[in-house]
């Protein structure tokens, strides 16, 4: 049942219960933190790209247990933090409650958390503005047992060149955390209670069952669906529009399962990427590879499969991989459930086959090789101006099934960044079937690939470069998987 709307929501910040009323549920956590005088958390970009606003939040990890998770507070709406426990750099100092910390005595070295001491020791802060964000990324990684480069990949520092921060991470990686934060984690719950909140004439619903989502959509046909808010959060951070009704899919049971059988993998639409990263490792090499390059830790902790597909960006990272894997989507709506190939889902620039009142339930990926196939080759590539945490210029994912005589039985070439939608090079695929997996075949398919797409020139790269990559990446695939 959908709850009646409440005018108050609660959460804890550094262990302190906080009650929020009269604020828009779309206000970002960062904005709230700073408005309420908690100035230790900084805004570096408001885009979720620099990590200066990183806080830690307790949430379910890939193992289902509670974990500290680093998230960008500039992208999380208040509605999404209701009932959660949030931690900031001021709050992990021994024996202090942050709002008081502002006036009395300065913090001393002895009071620092181990990740904070390490950063002091190595010279990990220069201007110090990005530092609270690094601290919270390291804090979360510390209790997960792997503080390393990857845990701070989503934090930009313009001063240090990162070397002392890397040394700090290495220092704390040797410690075994045993303190109030690790104890707190054991006791924490990851269950997200249902929520219905209204403030500043905006409503935020967090139902726990799919039928409630459908009912809410029926009541509010213009409602906006939100899950991790890593994309929609940008609009909120920049106050680009109002959201009279937001429906969060984050707590919906039916959207959170991940099923792995001999025949297929089914991923619920609200499963965050970090869960896929951990729980499906080694199942689909091209998926592993792409997730490695997919944004940074803070975003992977929040971003969902359904969101990455539903937003239908031509430069989304998952669609090329899922296209190459012949994924199908399960949708549900007022007229029932239906299944469609992902390839049919994208109908135009940022347009999908989703009908009014319909939601993405899951994506299903078949595992079986083509009959008679002796081996499968699959890989994905993402090219950006910066290797790490960039939006792709071109992304590509390839899959070929070969028979015992090395002939191609099945080929899938999925691309992003080369058309208005993520797309397959279907002519090239058809050409390849039946041909031997040789340099000669690759040379022969090149003209088809060259003309497969008519990409645009934009700030990330020229049309010529994109066209070249469409061809070159496939050749690279051949060279790497002869």
């Amino acid at each position: 049942m959908i709850q009646p709307l409440a005018t108050q929501l609660t959460l804890t910040i550094n262990g302190e219960p906080v009650s929020i009323a009269d604020l828009s549920p779309a206000m970002t956590l960062l904005e709230y933190l700073r408005l309420s005088g908690r100035a230790g958390t900084k805004e570096g970009c408001g885009d979720g790209d620099c990590g200066a606003c990183t806080v830690a939040m307790i949430g379910a990890g890939a193992d289902g247990k509670p974990h500290y998770q680093a998230v960008n507070s500039c992208l999380i709406p208040l509605g999404a933090v209701a009932g959660r426990q949030v931690f900031t750099a001021e709050g992990i100092v021994q024996g202090r409650i942050p709002k008081e910390a502002l006036v009395k005595e300065p913090v001393t070295v002895e009071q620092l958390h181990p990740v904070q001491s390490a950063m002091v020791e190595t010279g990990g802060s220069q201007c110090g503005y990005c530092t609270p964000g690094f601290i919270m990324s390291l804090f979360a990684a510390y209790y997960d047992g792997h503080p390393d480069d990857l845990s701070v990949e989503g934090n930009l520092c313009r001063c240090t060149g990162y070397l002392p921060i890397r040394r700090a991470a290495q220092m704390v990686a040797e410690l075994a955390p045993q303190d109030r934060f690790s104890e707190q984690l054991v006791a924490a719950s990851t269950v997200l209670a249902p929520l219905a909140y209204t403030g500043q004439a905006e409503q935020f619903y967090r139902p726990t069952h799919l039928n409630e989502v459908l009912e809410l959509l029926h009541q509010h046909p213009k409602a906006t669906l939100v899950a991790g808010a890593t994309d929609l959060g940008l609009e909120m951070s920049w106050h680009r529009q109002h959201y009279p009704v937001l429906i969060s899919l984050e707590a919906v049971e039916e959207l959170k399962h991940l099923e792995h059988t001999d025949e297929f993998v089914e991923i619920g639409a609200a499963v965050p990427l970090s869960h896929i990263e951990a729980n499906l490792q080694g199942v689909f090499p091209s998926l592993d590879e792409m997730i490695h390059w997919f944004a940074a830790r803070q975003v992977r902790n929040r971003a969902t499969v359904g969101g990455n597909i539903g937003t239908a960006s031509p430069i989304g990272d998952l669609p090329p991989v899922l296209l190459s894997l012949d994924a199908t989507l399960k949708l549900t709506g007022p007229s029932g459930e239906r299944v469609m190939p992902l390839a049919d889902f994208f109908v135009g620039y940022r347009q999908t086959a989703l009908q009014p009142g319909e939601v993405i339930v899951s994506v299903q990926i078949p595992k079986a090789l083509t009959p008679d196939a002796a081996r499968r080759l699959a890989q994905s590539y993402k090219i950006g101006k910066r290797g790490t945490d960039d939006i792709s210029i071109v992304a590509a994912a390839f899959l070929v099934d070969l028979d015992a005589s090395n002939h191609i039985l099945h080929a899938r070439l999925g691309y992003g960044g080369v058309a208005a939608i993520p797309a397959r090079a279907t002519e090239a695929e058809a050409f390849l079937v039946g041909k031997p997996w040789t340099g000669e075949t690759i040379r022969a398919v090149k003209p088809l690939l060259q003309e497969a797409f008519t990409p645009l020139t934009d700030l990330r790269g020229s049309a010529e470069y994109r066209k070249r990559l469409v061809v070159n990446l496939f050749e690279k695939f051949f060279v790497e998987f002869p």
Partner: protein, 775 residues
Amino acid sequence: MSPVGQRKSHESAVAHVSGTAVYTDDQREPAGMLSLYPVLSPHPRARITELDPAPAAGVQGCITVLTAADVPGENNTGVILRDEVLLPTDEVSYFGQVVAWAVGETEAAAREAAAQVVVKYEPLPAIKTVKEAIAADSFHNEPQIIRRGDPDAALSQAELTCSGEVDIGGQDHFYLETQTSWVVPDGEGNFQVYASTQHPSETQIIVARILGVPRNRVVCTCLRMGGAFGGKESQANPFAAAAALATYKTGRPARVRLRRHQDMLITGKRHGFLGQYEVGFTRAGQITALNAKLFADGGWSMDLSPPVLMRAMLHVDNAYYIPNLVVEGRIAKTNRVSNTAYRGFGGPQGMIVIEDVVDRIARTLKLPPEVVRERNFYSGQGETSTTHYGQEIVDNRMARVWQEAKERSDYGPRQAEIAAFNATSPYRKRGLAITPVKFGISFNKVQYNQAGALVLIYTDGSIQLNHGGTEMGQGLHTKMIQVAAKALGVKVERIRMMPTSTDKVPNTSATAASSGSDLNGQAVRDACEILRDRLAAVAVRMLNLDAPEDMVFEDDWIYCRTYPSARISFDEVVQQTYSERISLSATGFYRTPNIFWDAKLAKGRPFYYFAYGTAVSEVEVDGFTGTFKLRQVDIVHDVGESLNPLVDKGQIEGGFVQGMGWLTMEELVWDQEGRLRTFAPSTYKIPTISEVPEHFTIHLLERAAQDGVIYGSKAVGEPPFMLAMSVREAIRAAVAAFGDADYVPLGLPATPEATLWAIEGVREASSQGQPVGVS
């Protein structure tokens, strides 16, 4: 143990990591503070046909809208020329220019009010690139020329010549803390400005100019900055001025805090440059003549472009002796952001040109680039050790630093390994490169080479330290505490560093040009030594001795050098000094000696000394995509006798990575309409931790004390930035390995796309040209 030379963490490190360090916008808000939000120009150039703020008044919480008509003083924030309006009257000159500021009770109210301000434009033809400016003869200044020898004759007699062009991109500072200013009125006509500024005195000047009040009614205080890199030298001023204008008009405290997109759209950046050259050289690779032209993209107003251009011209030699040289420089006037100071201040752009030239010579002659570099180093004495602007290089450490870097990086053997790798790897190539840096230290403008300090000792023996420098993360305050602790012989814990403020130390220079420690350190020492002398006179009497010059101040004790058991605590002496009615505060002052510049002749001794460094970088480049991976970096750098090795290494690491970003991924893209398209970290990419290799070593040159500088140390802020040229040259070496071309042009920045085109160029030009891809 002397507090100087110790590896000490940043004096604010504990506050940084615990989120308790207070930046301008983190302060407790004064009652009734207003927020400003800008209205930005959507055109690179246009006539304003209508500017109607009235609709904004309908927004709840909107207090007012500031336009040019509100400026009581002079509507100009120009720092060298008065050519920069705070708010435009009839024309906008770049995309993103602030046309008006909405003022609201809250930021939300100001934002909504700004959206209601009606501005109508009639677009005018704009000058969108340096090349368009050259074609239209649109410049901020007359050509500047530095000449040595007879370059024309030497070029015509040269054994070999070649010419070329280098298009150098700009760079956004991307300090993590955007531009921020608070202004609080005291109710008696005075204005307290809190600004994230590298140059509080200039911010004070500009605020006073805008308000039309004498400077003594404006105090500018900088608590600390969340990064600056030159971007808050002059660029902080307009935002402080806008907040002050709001305060002036409303009588209430007011704040400007730019959001990231606004900051990147509105503020000036590193100058893009167009370099053109003709070089003459011998078959042995000796440069005999260089004719270089440098066009800086000044943007819409002059800002600091003249000294930036001059520093580029003064560094077009990098570390090389060029007997006949003419360099001509000019500042293009374009309809873009007004480009400004940025770490290196033109030096990097000048050096890029000569490094391109050197590589060109090496490949033409089929010589290893490092051999050509070595053959052209300044050396010996007199002519061959004198720059094109007539400054003799004394204490030339280039060869020493270079040799040490070669040895420490195992350069020779690795080169052989890489050649072997490349021979068997058709699609991935590795490149190794070594590049030098020689960077002149001092402000080009002689008058800026001065500094002041104010040291206050209280009767409990605690000390407040003030100096004219600002803290932007570079560790200046940390070093100044160390200097004061050494000069006064006290423990560092005794000293509290005060925020930089124009009511403590007036008429200061910008904290810039790597000179913060050199200048302020000497001023701090001067003040401390004045106080020490006063205390010594008292201590001598207290100890019943008679030679104050024999008093040693160390570790909170004062004792006699020849009779150490006669000692007395610092606290006791301070108490007694007060009792004897002797002042416990002192100002200190410093001016750099023996520097001069004759602008007419373009000759002189503009630099007090030079900083030297060498970097060796190795990369691997993918022939299908043009992407690269930095595999290893080894640096040897000369910081003199380091005041603080932790801080100095931090500057070197950070400068290098920032330079690498500029040269390989940070690309400013303007569209055909002249609009900047890269104004967010989603589109403008600075390095992350994953671009920094595991193997990254830094060695500080040993036994390197520098005469005449504070405790033998050397400036370190800017020089390491240019060590990153080794990454660009390593990429070029890898690109070159895809063929055997005798010319390997490489775009700036060397993005994957630029690198892939460079590889294709090499393949096409090569005699044994390999076709692209699978063969």
